[in-house]
């Protein structure tokens, strides 16, 4: 084991160590003390992982099984930020709902570790295992409120469809291995570059399908709304962004790092997926009555937008700078912030837990009626987030879409850009409903006393929403450095 090996393993080790510690502490301390502690252990793990990801050396480690580069750092950062924000709000929200917090945090951290490993993995086996770690942990997280039938259903659906997709992913990896004779990404491109075989292509197709499932691209998206809706909101928030970030990281790594020679094949494929995903996601979100479900569909739609960047990269492969994947990664980054904030807002806007009741997250549009009066700041933040998701300046969502469409236009995929634009208008229709509900409708029959008697919402959720909104604005007004980071991440090959 060299220093590089340790450096590469360190982020995952931090997370996993924290996970084990969280469970372990529970064994030795009374619950009243251990539960408070686990939260902080988790934060420690996340911060440690973040430090390790940025502080320790890079390069290929473990004979090419793991790699630490700008791409892995970028995605890991997004994942860890998501984990952190989701973690902050989880304790207060899930504790009262009789969730085993140590195990919850352990699974959350494990899942994050899986994601971090996924983007660092440099061979197919590690990649597959990482996918499975994050998936298995998420299956359980979805069903972690065991007494809630909807949570059960969500978990079961996710599990069945997830393992089904894993089958495809695995088959794709097998075929690529069959075509190249190696599972290591290093050298794979060289072997595939000379000539393309049908097996390799089938492998690419299956692989793309497998990751398309993970990121929720149509037609592999049908689990997304059901699972997101049924899962506990912090989990939904976490997986809606973190899985997507990790999935995109892996897609970028495998498509651009492993299969650049096949760009002519997967480029149009990804383009078609992007188009279908944008249409399905946006139209699906349009008729929802539940904001949570709407956000789920919207996450599908945003997958579609981000895929534009990859499609553009495919169309441009071999010529020009990797603006497409940079745009996709940038978008995933800002998407992480926006969507996380939006889901967390649902928790903040809901009825907080009291000793008498476990609380309830806001779910439907009507739940948000008149919120601007009760919680003006939260409403303002949510408005920023919604506007950003709709892609209106001066928010990060706008700049993200801008770079995506720019890459598409640059790659002569203006059609995708135009479709994206049309769908953005559709999306504005449902994002606006949130703003409309908060600002323009009145809460039903709430008297002064009721309003006064209402318990204070969880401040940590409010803080998380505020941070998200702030970052959304900041990334929109000063997107330069994060875009540069994304470009560096997309440039991982050139290093």
């Amino acid at each position: 084991m060299t220093g590089a090996d340790w450096g590469a393993a360190a982020p995952a080790l931090c997370l996993l160590g924290a996970a084990l510690l969280a469970v372990g502490v529970d064994l030795f301390l009374p619950r009243t003390r251990s539960w408070g502690l686990t939260e902080w252990i988790a934060y420690g793990g996340i911060v440690g992982a973040m430090g390790a990801a940025w502080g320790l050396g890079g390069g290929v480690a473990f004979d090419g099984a793991l790699t630490v580069d700008a791409l892995s750092r970028f995605v890991a950062t997004a994942v860890l930020v998501a984990t952190m924000l989701a973690g902050i709000v989880s304790a207060d929200s899930l504790g009262p709902r009789r969730v085993l917090l140590p195990e919850y945090y352990a699974l959350l951290l494990s899942s994050a570790a899986g994601m971090v490993l996924l983007v660092m993995s440099h061979d197919l086996i590690t990649m597959f295992l990482s996918v499975e770690i994050l998936s298995l942990a998420l299956y359980v997280l979805c069903g972690i409120t065991r007494t809630d039938p909807r949570s059960n259903e969500s978990a079961m659906k996710y599990f069945v469809l997830g393992s089904f997709a894993s089958g495809f992913l695995l088959y794709g990896m097998a075929l690529i291995y069959g075509a190249t004779g190696t599972v290591f990404l290093e050298g794979m491109a060289a072997k595939l570059g000379t000539a393309t075989s049908a097996t390799a292509l089938a492998g690419v197709g299956l692989l793309v399908a497998g990751f398309a499932f993970k990121v929720g691209a149509a037609p592999f998206h049908m689990w997304v709304p059901d699972v997101y809706e049924g899962a506990p909101t912090p989990v939904t928030a976490f997986m809606s962004v973190a899985v997507k970030a990790a999935g995109f990281g892996a897609l970028v790594r495998i498509l651009l790092g492993g299969l650049p020679a096949q760009a002519e094949e997967w480029g149009p494929l990804v383009g078609a997926l992007a188009a279908l995903t944008m249409i399905v996601g946006n139209l699906g979100a349009l008729t929802q009555t539940s904001v949570k479900r709407m956000l789920a569909y919207s996450s599908v739609a945003h997958t579609g937008y981000a895929l534009i960047g990859l499609a553009a990269a495919g169309a441009l492969a071999g010529r020009g700078a990797p603006e497409g994947p940079a745009a996709a990664l940038f978008y995933v980054g800002v998407y992480t912030v926006m969507t996380l904030g939006a889901f967390l807002f649902l928790m903040f806007a809901g009825r907080p837990a009291t000793p008498a009741s476990p609380g309830r997250d806001a779910e439907t549009y009507d739940d948000l009626n008149g919120l601007a009066r009760r919680r003006p700041w939260a409403a303002a933040f949510m408005t920023i987030l919604m506007v950003s998701l709709a892609g209106v300046p001066p928010t990060a969502g706008f700049f993200g879409k801008f770079t995506l469409f720019k890459s598409a236009v640059d790659a002569d995929c203006a059609g995708l850009a135009v479709l994206g634009v049309i769908m953005s208008v559709v999306s504005a229709a449902y994002y606006l409903r949130v703003v409309v509900a908060m600002y323009m409708k009145d809460a039903p029959h709430e008297t002064e006393e009721e309003a006064a008697a209402e318990p204070k919402p969880d401040p940590s959720a409010g803080l998380a929403v505020g941070v998200s909104a702030f970052l959304t604005l900041a990334f929109g007004l000063a997107p330069g450095w994060i875009l540069e980071t994304a470009r560096a991440a997309a440039n991982f090959l050139l290093r």
Binding site: A9, L16, L20, V23, F62, D63, A65, L66, R98, L100, E103, Y104, A106, L107, S110, A113, G114, L117, D123, I125, T126, L129, S130, E132, I133, L136, A137, Y139, V140, G143, I144, R146, L175, G178, A179, T194, A195, T196, S197, A198, T199, L201, A202
Partner: protein, 193 residues
Amino acid sequence: MADALKAVAADVLADPVFAVCALVAVGAAALMVTRRNPVYGALWLMQCFLAVAVIFLKLHAPFLAAIHVLVYTGAILVLFLFVIMLLNLQPRELGEEHSRPAKGLAIAVCGALALLLAASFLKAGPDGAPFRDVKPVTVTVGASRLPISADDWGGVEHVGSELFNRFIVPFEIVSVLIVVAIFGAVVLAKRKL
């Protein structure tokens, strides 16, 4: 493609062990997915796994064949049977089945999938020709250049040295995976909080 298909057919006929095992595997699999009662399904699945294990042997993977039987039939299927018994499903709790048209659609989709995969194998190579058989050769493995003889190809020693050298990371990670699975199972199955 027709030529390639003919060649495969000839190849299969020339190899009766494979032919029988393949037939058993596919037949058992087909029966597994069509049995209404999951107990029968599990048994047919076991049958299928056993046939596959034989095929592993034919592919010079004795170690894999062994643990395949151990893990799949010994662990996984037993777990299935445990759960089936635990749930103790009454016939009406087995649930309904999909309608015939739905199943027809499923057959169509999966048939298409199978055909497309098959086509890609028949046109496998870069030149569009199928894969050809290769004889095993002497290999060396690992950082320490541990030599392995051709006869031991795919044996315990061979697999083990690969596993602990080049694939140490996946090996460690799979342990993490299993820990996660344990956490998960515990969280989900714990009776009380």
